[in-house]
């Protein structure tokens, strides 16, 4: 049995263990791992998530039990202090001695702390480990202003964390620009202005001379004479390989740090000692990303298990990340300096996008580039660079998209060569993915992730894996069908047709006749939505197939309480009704907040309180706002021509009419609308699923808009129509969407995927090209006629009311529910 000792239980050390066990199912290797930290290996790449609610457990790459299950001895909280190469053993600070046949150094790196006067002061931190983070969070509670030294990748990550703590955030960088290794001047300056828009102050060209403060930190002094008053400092200015062990046992180390290894990752002096990850210096280079570290781990495993070994001769340092919501990517020869090249640059300060691609002088190859603000093309561009793929006739199409015509840019996943690396974290090629799809008959993304691990690291390649899966299945002649889940081999549209034609009214009926198994959390709510869209029956009749929010007709919130939103059509509300809301909120001790959709949300209601609360609201003339459902939410309005000196139509009256028309309408996803009384568009109608904007002659109708994470402007369907025509087209549009969209697909995504796009939709809705216009209107009329307030039904039915309780054997509410006070109102205690 070969004895393996791994020093370091970080991401790369863990990956080594995982790969070795994978390649060695018979456990011919005895593995011992030393980790100096308290936690088993965790995801350092997503460390800043710790500030936004992720727990240490969330970040773990594998729980402690994984090591046991795989017969790996994990020695946590134990620092190796000596390597005895003669006797081939390591000795830890507790005196433990463990012999090895092969030794793997995966000690990683620590934070590089520049020699500034005062770094030892209280309030100065580095940003590297979970313990560092805990200390930062602890200290940060009592300060208001903090700075981060380092404007590189790591520094900006730290800045995000500090900002997430709610502190005034400053970034101090020595170089004249941010992310100097990845971005050029223009890209960096765009990133800077975007960060400043988010309230982060950026200080460039700053050489910190002194960290001031007497006991307590008070500020920074810079060489140019300026100063910055702060109370906390986080240093995240680079890494320093943890090579101290190598130094004491006579292994060579590089001048700039790191254990010197050859292309097989063996140390020069000792073929039985390997170094991988950030501690390894290969050809005088340290690789501070996780992907090359994983590749090193793989190659050492291959050597130990007698598999084919690829010498490690450098690694692509392309990277894409999201910094505080801003996409930043840098790939290949980002600066165009490795060979003569011509840059093509697109710089739009208005939309906040900077894109640069470097083209070879003969115009045939893409060498590298930079993307800031919008980086969706990164995956394809990187592939084109790495695989020397031919460029389209107008290479600018790569960053601008095809313009003027509808021709595609010709860069699709099917054009990639088999050796193209799709997942760089796990080094999975297109060929490997295609093979597994073909030979093992995999048809689902989850299966591919489980089999190949592709997409399980940073997740950046998932869209590409998905595209590949679809195109591969298509190429194999398999019909690519958007089946609902494992229990239904039908798409949502097919199921909706079945439900309608066969007059199926319950989930069980549909599952018995057209499905298999017992259903799941994917198909149950999807079918519930189809049934509600088709028959409009009270959803609480089949409460256990509803998502929790629909089951309890309220929105579940942290701590397990619910929020309550009565409908306020068009955002118009009388003082009397406002007083009712105030009284109810006061009586039940609810937190109140104005929503984005012009209504009032009351939070913190226990499940058993919901019927009582609604009884009072309904008595006062309120009805359900369906904030919990995949259904119409609100129709927002501006004040319109009644009051506004610019208004040309009565936006409020029309918004109320529209909202009441579609209230309770169940759809594949939530629906939002708005009506603006003039061209100034104060109701932001173009960001809604349907938006109506007044003109001198009537209304312009926009469809398929979206806010949220992927904002998209709605597209004009028709202009200058009267109110009745406008409603007719919304009827047809919404019903057409409800009939044909996939589950949980907003109208914007649906419209993007619709063949022919808005032009086709206009053909169907306005010109009635499918001859279904009247049918769609009839279906909508049925929904409008059969509308009933769900909460009214529940409040008046003792049997339904009885379902709203926490325990079925005790009248007590959930004893676990607890609140804090924030700004004079209640708030749930934050979760672990």
């Amino acid at each position: 049995m070969t004895k393996i000792v791994v020093i370091g239980n970080g991401m790369v050390g863990y990956k080594f263990c995982e790969k070795l066990r994978q390649a060695d199912p018979d456990k011919a290797f005895k593995i011992t791992v030393f980790g100096e930290e308290h936690w088993p290996a965790y995801d350092r790449v997503h460390l800043s998530d710790y500030f936004t609610g992720s727990t240490a457990e969330d970040l773990l790459l594998a729980p402690s039990s994984w090591y046991e299950e795989n017969d790996i001895v994990l020695r946590r909280n134990e620092l190796v202090t000596e390597i005895n190469r003669e006797e081939k053993k390591v000795i830890s600070h507790t005196g433990t001695e463990v012999p090895y046949d092969k030794l793997i150094l995966a000690t990683g790196s620590g934070a590089m702390v520049p020699p500034i006067n005062g770094v030892e002061k209280k309030g100065v931190f580095v940003y590297r480990t979970l313990e560092d983070l805990e200390a930062i969070i602890d200290f940060g509670k009592n300060v208001k202003k903090a700075a981060v030294i380092g404007g590189g990748l790591l520094g900006l990550e730290a800045a995000k964390a500090v900002r997430d703590m709610g502190l005034e955030t400053h970034v101090v960088e020595f170089a004249p620009r941010l992310m100097p290794r990845q971005l050029d001047e223009a890209g960096s300056s765009l990133l800077k202005s975007k960060l400043e828009d988010l309230g982060i102050s950026i200080h460039l060209n700053k050489n910190t001379q002194q960290i001031k403060g007497n006991g307590k930190l008070s500020g920074l002094d810079f060489k140019d004479g300026s100063e910055l008053p702060i109370e906390m400092l986080v240093i995240s200015a680079g890494i320093k390989p943890r090579d101290e062990l190598a130094k004491t046992c006579g292994l060579s180390y590089a001048e700039r740090g790191g254990v010197v290894v050859n292309e097989y990752l063996q140390t020069i002096e000792d073929k039985d000692i390997f170094a991988i990850g950030e501690v390894a210096s290969v050809q005088n280079m340290i690789y501070g990303l996780v992907a090359p570290g994983y590749e090193m781990a793989t190659q050492v495993v291959n050597q130990l298990t007698g598999n084919k070994v690829k010498p490690f001769l450098g690694y692509d340092m392309s990277t894409k990340l999201k910094l505080i919501g801003i996409d930043v990517a840098s790939f290949g020869d980002a600066f165009g300096i490795n060979e003569p090249s011509t840059p093509i640059v697109y710089h739009n300060k208005n939309s906040g996008e900077y894109k640069r691609i470097n083209i070879s002088l003969d115009g045939k190859r893409l060498l590298g580039g930079i993307l800031v603000g919008e980086a969706s093309a990164y995956g394809m561009l990187l592939q084109m660079t790495q695989n020397n793929m031919p460029l389209p006739p107008n290479p600018e199409d790569l960053i601008l998209g095809a313009r003027g015509g509808k021709a595609s840019t010709g860069a699709g996943v099917s054009d990639l060569p088999a050796e193209a690396q799709i997942c760089s974290c796990e080094n999975v090629t297109k060929g490997a993915l295609c093979k597994i799809i073909e030979e093992d008959g995999l048809t689902k993304l989850d299966e591919i992730k489980a089999c190949t691990k592709a997409g399980t690291g940073c997740g950046g390649c998932i869209p590409m894996v998905n595209d590949l899966l679809k195109s591969q299945l298509k190429a194999m002649g398999k019909q690519v069908k958007n089946t609902l889940c494992a229990h239904f081999e039908y798409s949502r549209q097919e199921l909706l047709d079945i439900v309608k034609i066969k007059e199926i009214k319950s989930y069980d009926e549909l599952l018995n006749q057209y499905g298999t198994g017992d259903g799941c959390e994917t198909c149950k709510p999807a079918v519930a939505s189809i049934l509600a869209s088709t028959w409009n029956e009270l959803i609480t009749k089949q409460d256990t197939i509803q998502d929790s929010n629909d089951r309890y007709l309220a929105n579940i919130q942290k701590g397990g309480t619910y929020s309550v939103v009565p409908r306020v059509p068009g955002g118009e509300i009388s003082p009397e009704k406002l007083m009712v809301i105030a009284q109810v909120a006061k009586k039940y001790g609810l937190y109140t907040k104005i929503t984005g959709g012009q209504r009032i949300d009351m939070f913190g209601a226990r499940v058993d309180q919901l019927p009582d609360i609604w009884e009072e609201l309904i008595d006062a003339g309120f009805e359900s706002g369906h904030a919990y459902g995949k259904s119409l939410r609100t129709v927002k309005s501006c004040v319109g021509s009644t009051w506004c000196r610019y208004g040309v139509q009565d936006a409020v009256s029309f918004a109320i009419e529209v909202e009441e028309r579609y209230r309770g309408l169940r759809s594949p996803h939530k629906l939002k609308g708005a009506v603006s009384g003039c061209i100034r568009e104060c109701a932001e109608a173009q960001s809604k699923d349907f938006g109506i904007i007044a003109t001198e002659k009537g209304w312009n109708l926009y469809v398929g808009g979206n806010g949220g994470s992927k904002p998209q402007h709605a597209k004009l369907l028709i202009n200058d129509v009267d109110s009745a025509t406008c409603l007719k087209y919304i009827d047809r549009y919404l019903m057409f969407y409800i009939r044909t969209a996939d589950p949980l697909t907003r109208t914007a995504t649906w419209l993007n995927k619709l063949d022919g796009g808005i032009d086709y939709l206009r053909e169907v809705v306005v010109n009635d090209s499918l001859n279904i216009g009247e049918e769609l209107e009839r279906e909508m009329a049925f929904k409008i006629e059969t509308y009933a307030c769900e909460w009214k039904e529940v409040v008046n039915d003792p049997k339904l009311r009885a379902k709203f309780q926490h325990f079925v054997n005790d009248d007590q509410g959930d004893p676990q529910v607890a609140f804090n006070e924030v700004r004079g109102q209640k708030a749930p205690v934050s979760w672990g």
């Binding site: 494992a486 017992d518 149950k524 256990t544 579940i556 325990f807 054997n809 959930d814 004893p815 672990g832």
Partner: protein, 127 residues
Amino acid sequence: MTTTTLLEKYKTTDHTKISTWFKAAPVSAFPENGGACVKYKDLQIAIYNFSRRGEWYACQNLCPHKMQMALSRGMIGSEKNEPKVACPFHKKTFSLQTGKNLNGDYCDIATYPVKVENGYVYVGFED
């Protein structure tokens, strides 16, 4: 109460060591193909009436992902014939037979034996 101590209160009952059959509630208290929560001492136990399979299951009401008392409100279903529940918060799914987290690496949840006698539902404990 800290996360760990709250979790530690829930221990899977060994079917061979049941010492108490707790009379939880009448069958009618549990919706078909769904769950409800019962209180036993200071424990919250989710009980599921999986009528489609003619089976009953019980587990801790506490979801180990974000420590929320919510599993009884989750949708139940099956994955390759293994009965499961999905937490309403983030759809983490757990096997109702083994308690294993089926779509992640969260710790197992405790499961308890259930029996139905004379219209009443009972949960088995070791204490």
